[in-house]
């Protein structure tokens, strides 16, 4: 058993380092030759649609699923051989907010404190601190099952960090939670990161990935892009993004899709986002007017990650096609 004061691990080196990480289930390759590094104190988002290999990656990093090939170190420990050391040092929170619904708020925290062998001295203070962080003061004796989604989520986070882990894994942490609670949750995450905690979060919400310092995009088990949200927008979007509003967006979309060489057109609500490398937007407006839409207006806009994501996925799709 490796002690917590071990020299090779914990304090130095990157929080996560994987090279050529691969996992097969029979003939299917869930994670294919993934390589990346997460530095200490980073908020790192692992972005991808459902079934893209996010959860398989996180399970390998937590030491509960051995990789088929490649290697990885988490907090300096080998994910294949030193799972026990990793498990003691990481926090983990899943989208299911794995709380005991028949236990009270305090009993849940006490249970996980016992599981992670938090010393008894200072435990009461630690629990008070987490209760305050989650905004659950006065609800310590409330049965967890009767809490609302946002509170459950924050309590689950409290349980995941009761032992002050230097690295926190969040697997789809805000699934099924209202937008206000999501914002509160990310404020808490940034607070933890400011205190030096490394955060590794999987998500399929693109707006959520904007909270991250860096984003890795995974598709069909392959790491397709990696960088800061700003880098993504700069590097992966070729051209300028425009928003076109008009009274008949669907007709406009059809018209523009017939136009050769316009770039990518996609519908956001009732607004069209158009990515084009041309400086001149006159041909676009002409095409729309030719389709009988007179009230169209076009203006350049700042891209979101969603634009990047759609650009990347359509690019891949055309490559394959």
């Amino acid at each position: 058993m490796t002690s917590i004061t071990s020299t090779n691990a914990d304090e130095q080196g990157p929080a996560i380092e994987v090279r050529g990480l691969t996992r097969r289930f029979g003939d299917r390759i869930a994670v294919n030759d993934v390589t990346f590094t997460v530095e200490r104190g980073e908020v790192f988002a692992f972005l991808g649609p459902n079934g893209s290999g996010k959860s398989t990656t996180i399970r390998m990093l937590c030491g509960i699923l051995p990789p088929s090939a490649g290697e990885g170190r988490v907090l300096g420990y080998d994910i294949a051989r030193e799972a026990e050391a990793i498990k003691r040092r990481i926090g983990y929170m899943s989208q299911r907010f794995s709380l005991y619904e028949d236990l009270t708020v305090r009993e849940n925290l006490e249970f996980y404190a016992g599981i992670y062998e938090v010393p008894r001295g200072g435990l009461a203070a630690r629990i008070d601190e987490l209760v305050a962080m989650a905004g659950l003061q006065g609800r310590e004796r409330q049965i967890a099952g009767t809490l609302s989604g946002g509170w459950k989520q924050r309590l689950a986070l409290g349980c995941a960090i009761v032992h002050r882990p230097p690295l926190l894994f969040l697997d789809e942490p805000t699934a099924g939670v209202d937008p206000v609670s999501r914002r509160q949750f990310w404020t808490m995450i940034h607070g933890l990161a400011a205190g030096g905690v490394t955060v590794f979060a999987t998500t399929h919400y693109l707006d959520e990935a904007e909270h991250a310092g860096r984003v890795a995009m995974i598709q069909d088990g392959v790491l397709s892009a990696l960088g800061t949200p700003a880098e993504f927008k700069r590097d992966f979007l070729r051209g300028q993004l425009y928003a076109l509003s008009c009274s008949q967006p669907l007709a406009a979309l059809a018209a523009l899709q017939r136009l050769p060489d316009v770039g990518e057109v996609s519908l956001y609500g009732d607004v069209l986002h158009i990515l084009t490398e041309h400086e001149d937007t006159a041909p676009i407006l002409d095409a729309v007017r030719a389709a009988g839409i007179e009230d169209a207006s076009i203006a350049p806009i700042a891209p979101t990650l969603e634009d990047v994501f759609i650009s990347l996925t359509s690019g891949r799709a055309s490559e394959r096609g």
């Binding site: 983990y92 236990l103 249970f111 599981i115």
Partner: protein, 376 residues
């Protein structure tokens, strides 16, 4: 093995057991309901059998003969009828389970020492009633015939004693053939098995359903800590419940433990651990609590039907006797009836205890290994 982690799990389990209504029903409700159902229901049919009497003789001898049936308490005369057809109709309609037909010559035959006959009509549709009626009716008749023979000899002053011996019916262990003595010890085993299997299976499957098992897998908890932490509270709970059932058996049915209570609990442990192992095995396979419940009931059926709890093993076809031989309840039933009814102990029952221990070791070993695989 970390004591902190083990204690955290045990504490959590105890809190959950206290709060969970289903668990409380399981631990307290099942023993009460089962005891009342099986104990009273089966007790009621094996004595006080409704009896119709057609006495054509109308003599003191025939009245004494019928009275002997009533005094046995197995038979309650509910109807005196005037024709044979009426007697048959009473049985047909279910007003009576049994009819005693005494022929006109009965009184004279008894007085004259000519060997009197009477007829016992038994409703065979319920075998347990029929068996009791035939068996106890036979005993009553034999006893009565012995008595009248002695009386006849005394009256006639004959010196040629025709072996006027009164047959004394002796039934070992359960002199009145009380069904409670027969049913209750077995019930204790059935209840214990149901609780141990269900508590363990539900306890694990519930965590899987709610996603908390996934959380524990990512935590430093070792499989052994998880198994022990979940099983230990169940051991305590099942033993407490068994103690409660024993007290109820005593209060409600007068079934007292003839042997040593300490030895009874000692001999219960291997059966209990085997049952916990079955529960753990179910928890590996079952995805939902409903599935776990169904599988538990499925494992309970052979214990009820083939262990000798309801039907004697001796009368089963050879294939079922074979199955019966590998069912833990078969052996635990012998232990329960041995200690509670016959008053024997470890000295006699060690072969059964050894068989149960072997079963527990195998089942626990296999299921812990499979369980370890599912969570690692």
């Amino acid at each position: 093995m970390s004591l902190s982690r083990l204690l955290a799990i045990v504490r959590k389990e105890l809190i959950q057991i206290r709060r969970d209504r289903i668990t409380l029903v399981l631990v307290i409700g099942i023993p009460v309901v089962e005891l009342l159902l099986f104990g009273y229901a089966l007790n009621a049919v094996t004595d006080h059998i409704a009896t119709a009497v057609y006495d054509e003789s109308r003599t003191s001898a025939s009245r004494a003969f019928v009275a002997a049936f009533e005094h046995s308490t197995y038979f309650d005369v509910v109807d005196h009828v005037q024709t044979r057809e009426e007697a048959m109709a009473a049985v047909d309609a279910g007003r009576a389970r049994v009819a005693i037909l005494v022929p006109p010559s009965f009184g004279d035959d008894v007085l004259g020492g000519r060997g009197a006959t009477a007829q016992l009509i038994v409703d065979g549709s319920d075998p347990s009633v029929a068996q009791t009626a035939l068996f106890s009716g036979g005993l009553v008749a034999q006893a009565q015939s012995g008595r009248v023979t002695v009386e006849a000899l005394a009256r006639t002053g004959s010196t040629r004693a025709p072996g006027g011996i009164e047959l004394r019916p002796v039934v070992l262990y359960n002199p009145r053939m009380l069904s409670a003595q027969f049913m209750v010890p077995g019930l204790i085993g059935i209840i214990l098995q149901m609780q141990a299997v269900l508590l363990t299976a539900l306890g694990v499957v519930r965590e899987r359903e709610r996603g908390t098992l996934e959380q524990l897998i990512v935590s430093p908890v070792r499989p052994a800590e998880l198994v022990l932490g979940k099983v230990l509270p169940n051991v305590a709970l099942c033993l407490a419940s068994t103690a409660m059932t024993l007290v109820m058996a005593r209060v409600l049915f007068g079934v007292a433990v003839q042997g040593s209570v300490v030895e009874l609990f000692l001999l219960t442990l291997p059966f209990l651990f085997g049952s916990l192992g079955i529960g753990l095995a179910i928890s590996v396979v079952a995805r939902t609590q409903a599935q776990a419940l169904q599988m538990t009931m499925f494992t309970l059926l052979p214990s009820i039907l083939l262990s000798g709890f309801l039907y004697a093993r001796e009368s089963m076809p050879w294939i079922f006797q074979g199955i019966s031989a590998v069912i833990p309840m078969t052996y635990y039933l012998q232990i329960l009836r041995g200690v509670i009814v016959k008053g024997v102990g470890v000295g006699v029952l060690w072969p059964q205890a050894t068989a149960l221990t072997a079963f527990a070791v195998v089942v626990l070993g296999v299921s812990v290994r499979r369980f370890r695989k599912t969570i690692e």
